[in-house]
Symmetry: C2
Subunit: 99 residues, 2 copies
DNA sequence: CGTTCATATGAGCAGGTATTCAAGCGAATT
DNA sequence: AATTCGCTTGAATACCTGCTCATATGAACG
């Protein structure tokens, strides 16, 4: 059964962010783009698991990636990144402000 | 396995909010306290299910309740409600701003 | 006090989500 | 062209979470 439909998409985006690993990734990326290898060193998760999480973030449109030589660089998606870089995520339905 | 531990609690709070029904409840309550019956009329969920969701919100410290006669009134928890009432949730780790 | 109204609780099922393992694939290097 | 590096993908599993049904509690009211 469904609740008020206005919140559907918002709940979905929050669901993506409501994970320790993915939140940690977002915080790292809020400081600037990084390659998977770098993220992998900082966060203590298996590389393949990190990759799965990155896919979830990509599918949600929160991050985007591009290949650089052998490695892949991730960054916060344009529509999500705000002027106050490094602090705020602009998710359509709401704004998430890390102090 | 665990990611960077700084985000643990934040992910947990977001997990509680990352649900259509619970988000809808929070939005209603951000306009002011309401009794379960009122919430139940507005959101289209079974009473017993709503009750379960309210418990999750209570356990997370996002809302508090008090009995009034036969019914129970819920409101946004003090530590979460901000001055800009009706728009912002102050979750320790971050701030959630519904425009 | 027994019933009704308003809400809460607990058990059980069902679908979803994280994690791991094995394998794939593109780019560089030899 | 074969190998290595960096990363992704898919399948299998194990856990978690939402939902429902049945039942309980607590306050009011006859």
């Amino acid at each position: 059964m469904m609740a008020a439909s206005e919140d559907v998409s918002c709940a979905e985006v929050l669901k993506v962010l409501a994970d320790e690993t993915r939140l940690a990734v977002m915080r790292r990326l809020m400081q600037g783009p990084q390659r998977v290898g770098e993220l992998n060193e900082q966060l203590h998760v298996e590389q393949t698991l990190l990759s799965h999480h990155l896919r979830v973030l990509r599918d949600a449109g929160l991050v985007s990636s591009r290949r650089i030589g052998k490695s892949v660089e991730y960054k916060i998606s344009d529509r999500v990144e705000s002027k106050r870089r490094g602090a705020v995520l602009e998710l359509g339905c709401c704004k998430l402000d890390f102090r």
